[in-house]
C-alpha cells in the first residue's frame, strides 16, 4: 500500500491522483485542509510555471498553484 504513495509534486502533468495523507503540520496543514485536500480528494496536475515551479493543480473545481515545498507534503496515490 505505502509503496504506491508518491508526493504530489511527482505527479506527472495531466495525471490524476487521490490524496492519501498530509505530512505537513500546523498552519500549512490547515491551509491544505481549507483547500479541500482531505483523504480521497481527487487532484489533477495541470500546468507548470515557465520555470518549472510552482505547479497548478485542479482541486475541487478550483485551480490552485502550489510550490514543490508544499506539494511534497501531500502524499497521493496515482490513478
Amino acid at each position: 500500500m505505502e509503496e504506491r504513495l508518491i508526493p504530489l509534486n511527482f505527479l506527472p502533468l495531466g495525471k490524476k491522483a487521490k490524496v492519501k495523507e498530509l505530512t505537513s503540520e500546523g498552519a500549512v496543514r490547515r491551509r491544505m485542509l481549507d483547500l479541500g485536500l482531505i483523504s480521497d480528494t481527487v487532484v489533477e496536475a495541470l500546468q507548470k510555471s515557465p520555470s518549472g515551479d510552482p505547479t497548478a493543480y485542479h482541486i475541487r473545481g478550483a485551480v490552485i498553484a502550489l510550490r514543490s515545498e508544499e506539494a511534497c507534503k501531500i502524499m497521493v496515490e496515482s490513478l
Binding site: 503540520e25 498552519a27 500549512v28 496543514r29 490547515r30 491551509r31 485542509l33 481549507d34 483547500l35 479541500g36 482531505i38 483523504s39 480528494t41 495541470l46 500546468q47 507548470k48 510555471s49 515557465p50 520555470s51 518549472g52 515551479d53 510552482p54 497548478a56 485542479h58 482541486i59 475541487r60 473545481g61 478550483a62 485551480v63 490552485i64 498553484a65 502550489l66 510550490r67 515545498e69 508544499e70
Partner: protein
C-alpha cells in the same frame, strides 16, 4: 484606493468596529465570501456610491461599509474580508469570524462562485455553524451558464436550509431577489432551518458533555454547540475574542474547565487529539459540501474548464509564458506612449493658450507683476503642465491595466514569476503587489496585506517603490521620448521609447528581486513561507464598466491628488525663483549647493532639487525642472515636446542626463503618501526610514556607476 473616511455615529460592534445607523431600525448585514467571487461587485451594485472604506480597528484589514434602501428600510452592508474559511488561520479570517460571531449582524450574506460552488460551500457551512441568519448568494451564474454548469438553487436551498439566490451581480441579475431574501431574514424573521453537521460519535459525545454548562454560562448569546467545538479545539485566538465579548473568561469557570479537560482526555483516549479533531471536523464539512453539490450541481460538459486550460497552456507555458508577459507589458506602454502624444499636445496648447488669456486679463486688470507671476506663471503653469502631461497617459494606461486585471491575467503573472521570487526568498504574491505599484505605490504597499507572512510582507513593502507608479510614468515617458525616441526619430520614435521604458521597468523588477534577496539574506533572514495561489477562471471583461471605473476611481483620483499638490508647489517654486539673496534667486542658491553632488550622478543641481521638492508627489518633478530653467530663461514659451527638448538641451542635457534622470526617477525615496502609508502599514518608524534610504541609496549608486562609466568610456 485608501480613501479613508472616519465614521461617526452610534453603535459599537464586533471587533470595536463603528457602524453608523441613521435610525435604530437600520439592519446590519455582513457580506462574506471567498476571494474572487465578485463580492465587491455585489457590494458596489447594492450600495452604489453610498459607501466608505476604512480599517478594522487595530488591524491592517480593509473594511468597507455601504448603505442601501429597500422597501422603506435602511440596510447597512458591512464588507467582510474575502476568506476561504473561518478557522482563523489569518488576520482576515479572524476579522471575518469575529464580526459574524460577535458583531451580531442581522443577517449574513455569503457570496459564492457558481463555477466553483463545492469549494465555496466550505465557508457557507462554517458560517451556518455560527448563525442561522444566512442568505447564500450564488454569484456568477452567467459564467456558470457559459460553462454549462447547472445549479439547482431550490435543491441547494432545501439542503442548506437557508435561502439561496442566484445572481449575476455584474449585470444586476438577481439583486432584487437577493435584497428580498435579506429583507425576509433580517426584518420579517423568516425562520431558517440550517443544516446541522453531525460529527463522529466521539466528537458529538464530547460536545454534548459541554453544551449544558455553556448554555448556563452564556445564555445562548452565541451558538453554544459551536463554542463547545472551539473549546475542544483549544482555539486560543477565539477564546480571547470571546472573553473580550463576554467580559469574562469561560475557562475561569471551574465546572466548565473540568468538563473540557475531561472531554479532551476522553477524546485523546479514542485517538482523537487536537490535530485529529480539526482534521475530522474539516473533513466532515468538506464531505457535506461534496454531498450537497452532487445533488444540486450538474456539469453538462465535463470539460467545462478546457478553454481556460488551453489559454493557460499558452500564457503560462515554458516557451511563451514570459515572452507574452513582456509583450503585453511593452504593448501597454506602446499604446500609452503613442496614444498619449497627440492629446497631450492638444491639451497643452489649449491650456497654455488659456495662460495668455489669463495674462492679458491680469494686465488689463492692472494687477501687480508679482501677483501675475505667482498665480499664473507659478500656480497655473505648473498645474497646466501636470494635467497635460499626466491625463492622457493615465486615461490610456489605467483602463488597459484594469482590463488585464479584470480578465484574470494578473494571478498568472504571479504564477509565472513565483520561482524568481522564491529564489529571492520572497513571496510569489509580491508579483501582484508589484503590479498594483504600477498604478500607485501607496496602493501597492497597502496591497501587500495579501501576503500573510510578516517577513515577506515587509520585503514586498520595502521594495514596492522599485516599480514606477503613474506619477513617475509621465516623467519617464516624456524623457524617453525626447532623449531616446528623439535620437532615433521617424517611424521608430515611439517604438524606441517603448523599448527604453520596458527595459527600465525590467531593470526595476531586477532591482526588486535583487534587493528582496539581499534583504532576506541580511536584516530580514528567514525561509520562504507557504505559497498558495488561486488561478481564477478567465472572465469576460465588462469593457464599459472598466473604462468608467478606471477613469473615475483611478485616473481622476490620482490626477486630483497631483493637482492639489502641484498648485501650491508651483506657488512655492515661483517664490523661490523670484526671491533674491544677493545676486541670485533662492532656487539658484539651492541648486548651486546641490550641483557638485548631482554632477557625480549625471544630473545637475536643479534636477536633484526637483526630486527633493517633488517629495509630496513625483508628478511635479518635471514641472519643477521646467520652472527652474525657465526662471533663468523666461522668454521661452512651452507648447510642444520640441520646445521642452530645446529647453533641456540648452541647459546642458545629453542622452546621459536623460538616462540618469530616468534611473533616479525609478529609484529614489517614495513619495510622501507612500511613506505615510508604509508608516501606517508597518507601524514602525524604523522600517519607514529603511524604505526611504534603500531605494535612494540604490539610485545614487546606479546613477553614479552609469554616469561615470559612460564618461570614462567617452560615450557622453
Amino acid at each position: 484606493m485608501g480613501l479613508t473616511n472616519q465614521s461617526t455615529g452610534v453603535g459599537v460592534l464586533g471587533g470595536g468596529l463603528r457602524i453608523e445607523r441613521t435610525t435604530p431600525d437600520d439592519r446590519i448585514i455582513a457580506l462574506t465570501g471567498n476571494p474572487n467571487v465578485g463580492k465587491s461587485t455585489v457590494f458596489n451594485s447594492l450600495t452604489g456610491l453610498n459607501q466608505h472604506t476604512g480599517n478594522w480597528p487595530g488591524k491592517t484589514v480593509t473594511n468597507a461599509q455601504g448603505k442601501y434602501r429597500y422597501k422603506g428600510r435602511n440596510f447597512i452592508l458591512v464588507d467582510i474580508p474575502g476568506t476561504y474559511s473561518l478557522m482563523a488561520n489569518s488576520v482576515e479570517e479572524e476579522v471575518a469570524r469575529d464580526f459574524i460571531c460577535f458583531g451580531k449582524p442581522d443577517a449574513a450574506v455569503v457570496v459564492t462562485d457558481a463555477t466553483c460552488l463545492e469549494r465555496n460551500l466550505n465557508l457557507v457551512l462554517q458560517t451556518l455553524e455560527i448563525t442561522d441568519k444566512v442568505v447564500v448568494c450564488v454569484n456568477l451564474v452567467d459564467e456558470a451558464k457559459r460553462k454549462k454548469i447547472n445549479i439547482d438553487c431550490k435543491e441547494l436551498s432545501k439542503r442548506l436550509g437557508v435561502p439561496v439566490i442566484p445572481t449575476s451581480a455584474r449585470s444586476g441579475e438577481g439583486l432584487k431577489e437577493l435584497m428580498d431574501a435579506v429583507y425576509e431574514v433580517s426584518i420579517r424573521n423568516h425562520i431558517t432551518d440550517p443544516i446541522h453537521i453531525t460529527y463522529d460519535a466521539p466528537i458529538e459525545e464530547a460536545v454534548q458533555a459541554l453544551e449544558t454548562r455553556i448554555w448556563e454560562l452564556i445564555d445562548g448569546r452565541i451558538n453554544n454547540r459551536w463554542v463547545a467545538l472551539k473549546l475542544l479545539e483549544g482555539d486560543a485566538v477565539l477564546l480571547d475574542s470571546l472573553g473580550r465579548y463576554l467580559k469574562f473568561n469561560l475557562l475561569e469557570d471551574k465546572d466548565l474547565c473540568f468538563l473540557v479537560e475531561r472531554a479532551k482526555r476522553q477524546l485523546a483516549e479514542k485517538g482523537v487529539n487536537t490535530d485529529e479533531l480539526r482534521d475530522r471536523m474539516v473533513s466532515r464539512i468538506i464531505d457535506t459540501a461534496e454531498n450537497i453539490c452532487s445533488r444540486a450541481v450538474t456539469f453538462e460538459n465535463k470539460q467545462y474548464n478546457s478553454t481556460d486550460r488551453k489559454i493557460d497552456n499558452i500564457l503560462t507555458s515554458r516557451a511563451f509564458g514570459i515572452p507574452i508577459m513582456l509583450g503585453l507589458l511593452a504593448g501597454i506602454f506602446w499604446l500609452t506612449i503613442a496614444g498619449a502624444n497627440i492629446p497631450s499636445e492638444m491639451i497643452a496648447s489649449f491650456l497654455f493658450g488659456l495662460e495668455e488669456k489669463l495674462t492679458d486679463f491680469f494686465l488689463r486688470a492692472g494687477a501687480p507683476g508679482w501677483v501675475h507671476g505667482a498665480l499664473v506663471l507659478g500656480m497655473y503653469r505648473t498645474l497646466a503642465w501636470v494635467i497635460s502631461v499626466m491625463l492622457p497617459p493615465m486615461a490610456i494606461f489605467f483602463p488597459l491595466f484594469t482590463l488585464l486585471e479584470d480578465l484574470g491575467y494578473l494571478p498568472r503573472v504571479a504564477f509565472n514569476l513565483d520561482n524568481l521570487f522564491k529564489k529571492a526568498c520572497a513571496h510569489g504574491k509580491q508579483a501582484l503587489t508589484m503590479c498594483m505599484g504600477f498604478g500607485c505605490n501607496a496602493a501597492g504597499v497597502t496591497g501587500c496585506r495579501i501576503i500573510d507572512s510578516p517577513r515577506e510582507r515587509l520585503i514586498a513593502i520595502l521594495t514596492n517603490v522599485f516599480v514606477p507608479c503613474n506619477g513617475r510614468f509621465p516623467t519617464l515617458i516624456a524623457i524617453s521620448s525626447i532623449f531616446i525616441g528623439g535620437t532615433v526619430g521617424g517611424a521608430f520614435h515611439s517604438l524606441a521609447s517603448t523599448l527604453a521604458l520596458t527595459g527600465l521597468i525590467l531593470f526595476g523588477i531586477m532591482m526588486t528581486l535583487l534587493v528582496s534577496s539581499i534583504l532576506s539574506r541580511t536584516i530580514l533572514k528567514g525561509l520562504p513561507s507557504s505559497f498558495i495561489l488561486e488561478l481564477p477562471s478567465y472572465r469576460k471583461p465588462q469593457v464599459g464598466r472598466i473604462i468608467i471605473r478606471s477613469i473615475l476611481d483611478r485616473t481622476l483620483f490620482v490626477l486630483g491628488r497631483a493637482a492639489a499638490i502641484a498648485a501650491p508647489a508651483g506657488l512655492v517654486l515661483w517664490i523661490m525663483a523670484n526671491i533674491r539673496v544677493g545676486d541670485l534667486s533662492l532656487l539658484t542658491h539651492a541648486a548651486g549647493f546641490l550641483d557638485p553632488f548631482a554632477k557625480l550622478l549625471g544630473m545637475d543641481g536643479y534636477i536633484l532639487m526637483a526630486f527633493i521638492l517633488g517629495l509630496p508627489a513625483n508628478e511635479i518633478v518635471v514641472p519643477i525642472i521646467i520652472m527652474s530653467y525657465m526662471a533663468s530663461n523666461s522668454i521661452l514659451e512651452l507648447e510642444k515636446m520640441e520646445d521642452l527638448r530645446q529647453l533641456l538641451v540648452s541647459h546642458g542635457w545629453t542622452w546621459l542626463t536623460g538616462v540618469c534622470v530616468m534611473l533616479f526617477s525609478l529609484m529614489h525615496f517614495p513619495c510622501g503618501t507612500t511613506l505615510w502609508t508604509i508608516r501606517k502599514e508597518t507601524q514602525s518608524v524604523k522600517w519607514t526610514f529603511v524604505s526611504f534610504v534603500l531605494p535612494t541609496a540604490a539610485g545614487i549608486l546606479v546613477c553614479f556607476i552609469a554616469a561615470n562609466a559612460a564618461r570614462l568610456l567617452g560615450l557622453a
